[in-house]
């Protein structure tokens, strides 16, 4: 069931996920579409997440936005200081402004990175983890991982894990999506595009997620006039995902957009996405076990089992 509506306020709204936003020209959503989008969310009981461009919005837009409960997703370069205070999620498009940034608790931060940048610069995450409540690292070239990259990623996770262990022992509890989410979950918690959340683009049309809009404007799944119309919507659900249904890398985003890009099917993930998620899962397992050596930790959570595969697809003979 759809629970969230992501509203892209402008074509240049910050991209917070695996895809990059190719739009360079401003195109602000019309005030009518904004109004109708909010109305739609009210009628359908949806929580709104507004996604901002870098520039200051006109007053009437701010007023409209303030008329409803919502979350704000903004770029680290966002212009409007006042609105910035109100932001819930701050997104870094790359590492360029990360080092001088004044991180503070109470917000979630997203750092988008290529694999190469991550392998070069992950050490700076250690310091950030000491300052924030939540940090999401989002890799933008998952599909390009090679076997050598998997090894490097494993090393990165292990080093970050050691840092998190230190922080937890010292009484802090920062969350890093790659390592702490799986420890705290007891079922799949994926991105939910097309199932629990949909996106309203500045053209007044609905999309499965912002990436589908960025990739092809014609790929809409309805509009504000005629309502939502997701064809084959069962394919966004876990019960129609033949590999993921058998998986316990519960923190995995199960990125529908990457699925379609790499395997041509929204319900089937690539090998790379699965291996990355399993390296995270296994590192979370180690982390959970390590923290528990210092005392009781998440007692309600079961142990994360040891497994002998990194891609559930390789175990498909056991599924029947």
């Amino acid at each position: 069931m759809v629970q969230y509506l992501v509203i892209l306020l402008d074509d240049t709204s910050v991209s917070y996920c695996h895809c990059n936003n190719p739009y360079k020209e401003h195109r602000l959503i019309s005030l009518d579409d904004l109004r109708n989008g909010i109305l739609y969310a009210m009628k359908e009981n949806l929580m709104i997440q507004f996604v901002y461009p870098d520039y200051d919005l006109p007053e009437e837009y701010k007023e409209k936005i303030e008329s409803i409960d919502h979350h704000n997703i903004v770029s680290s370069l966002y212009f409007d200081k006042l609105m910035f205070e109100e932001s819930d999620v701050v997104v870094f498009q790359d590492w360029s402004s990360v080092s001088n940034y004044d991180f503070e608790p109470g917000k979630a931060y997203v750092i988008k990175t290529t694999k190469t940048d991550l392998f070069d610069r992950y050490c700076s995450l250690k310091e950030i983890l000491g300052k924030v409540d939540r940090l999401n690292v989002v890799i933008t070239d998952v599909e390009k991982f090679t076997d050598g990259d998997f090894e490097s990623y494993k090393k990165v996770l292990s080093e970050l894990s050691a840092e998190i262990e230190k922080l937890y022992v010292a009484g802090k509890s920062p969350q890093l999506n790659l390592l702490t989410d799986r420890m705290m979950l007891s079922e799949m918690n994926n991105c939910g595009a097309g199932e629990t959340n949909i996106t309203l683009a500045p053209n007044g049309k609905f999309y499965v997620c912002p990436a589908f809009y960025y990739e092809n404007e014609a790929d809409s799944v309805g509009d504000l006039d005629k309502g939502l119309d997701i064809k084959n919507k069962q394919l966004y659900r876990l019960d129609h995902a033949p590999i993921c249904r058998h998986c316990d890398a519960w923190q995995c985003k199960r990125c529908i957009w990457l699925n379609r890009k790499t395997t041509l099917e929204v319900n089937t993930p690539s090998h790379e996405q699965c291996v990355i998620a399993h390296l995270e899962r296994n590192a979370s397992r180690e982390l959970l076990n390590s923290i528990r050596k210092h005392g009781t930790f998440l007692p309600e959570q079961d142990e994360i089992e040891k497994i002998d595969y990194l891609d559930p697809f390789d175990k498909r003979a056991d599924w029947q």
């Binding site: 084959n232 033949p242 319900n267 089937t268 993930p269 498909r316 029947q320």
Partner: protein
């Protein structure tokens, strides 16, 4: 296809371990009329056999050809058949009676092809007595199904696979005529005691069809995946994903001779299971077994370009077949019950 593209394909296959591990390679020549290119096929197979030997992988191979039969008695075709007889699975597609065949298969001059192929059918049948034929039927063919099957049986052909096309060509009432036609076949076989002939194999009366789905049915309908290659060396999982086979969708290419196979693009086909594919209507259908579907037809007819949207165009035709099959087996039972 040029010989150099074909050679690159063979080189790629033989050097790609996941494609050849412990397998028999089936070289399947399709697209247009393959026997028109018998010289090329012959050259490709000579190269392939040589390379397979050199590879020391201990590979076995089969050659599959489906032909319209017109060139079957050609001397080059016959010497190819002699050379590779033990590896060949060659079938002639005959559309039944002269009337029905000539309705579908005509030469450029407008003359039907039946008379030209019938002597070749006898030749083929003498060379490959155990190979059957596939009768693909569309809307216009339904009234001829009974006559056609009877005719094929009279030619000595024992394995006959009657298949309604999977595309949505069906009109209201087709299923009624189809059911009658199949029941006529059932009567013909039973009244003439042909069902005692163990070699007679009509897939339309297969006992397994028309039951609820069981665990064993959770498999890909193609049985196995094939690597298909077009004339430019582009790879598909089946030629039905190539441009010339599709009505409206983009070709679904999984690689080419230069870059190899993109394994990620194979995952949906290998992972596909009925729970992910079926709507609840099909999943819980009480006569679901044997109801044919094909990933490429799913793809072509789907609303979102997915192989995971089950095409149900033949639903009524399948149900008609199930009723006729039930009639067939009940009639046999009634006829023989006094023996038990």
């Amino acid at each position: 296809m040029t010989i150099s593209v074909a050679q690159s394909v063979i080189n790629y296959i033989l050097s790609t371990s996941f494609l050849v591990k412990g397998t028999t390679i089936i070289y399947d020549f399709i697209g247009g009329e393959p026997l028109l290119k018998i010289n090329l096929i012959s050259e490709i197979m000579d190269y392939a056999v040589n390379e397979m030997k050199k590879s020391n992988l201990g590979l076995k191979f089969k050659i599959r050809i489906t032909t319209n039969g017109i060139l079957y008695n050609n001397s080059k075709v016959q010497s190819f058949i002699q050379k590779y007889h033990d590896h060949l699975i060659i079938s002639i597609s005959i559309d039944g009676t002269k009337k029905k065949n000539d309705l579908n298969r005509v030469f450029k001059n407008g003359k039907g092809s039946y008379d030209s192929i019938i002597s070749n059918v006898y030749l083929w049948h003498s060379q490959f007595p155990f190979i059957g034929t596939r009768m693909t039927i569309s809307h216009d063919d339904i009234p001829f199904v009974y006559e056609s099957v009877k005719h094929l049986i009279s030619l000595g052909i024992k394995k006959i696979d009657v298949n309604p096309v999977l595309e949505n060509v069906w009109q209201e009432g087709d299923e009624v005529i189809y059911e009658e036609q199949l029941m006529n076949i059932a009567d013909y076989i039973i009244d003439n005691d042909l069902y005692f002939d163990k070699e007679l194999d009509l897939t339309c009366f297969d006992e397994y069809i028309g039951k609820p789905l069981g665990k064993k049915d959770m498999i890909n309908p193609c049985g196995s995946m094939f690597l298909s290659v077009d004339s430019l060396g582009r790879f598909y999982t089946c030629m039905r994903f190539a441009k010339y086979s599709l009505r409206s969708k983009k070709p679904r290419i999984i690689g080419d001779i230069h870059n190899g196979i993109d394994k990620n693009k194979l995952r949906p086909l290998y992972a596909l299971d009925l729970q992910s594919l079926y709507t609840s209507e099909c999943f819980f259908c009480e006569v679901a077994t044997g109801c044919k579907w094909c990933p490429a037809e799913n793809y072509d007819s789907s609303s979102t370009g997915t192989i995971y949207e089950r095409s149900v165009a033949t639903c009524n035709m399948h149900k008609a077949r199930v009723r006729a099959k039930n009639y067939y087996w009940n009639k046999i039972y009634q006829k023989n019950k006094w023996i038990e």
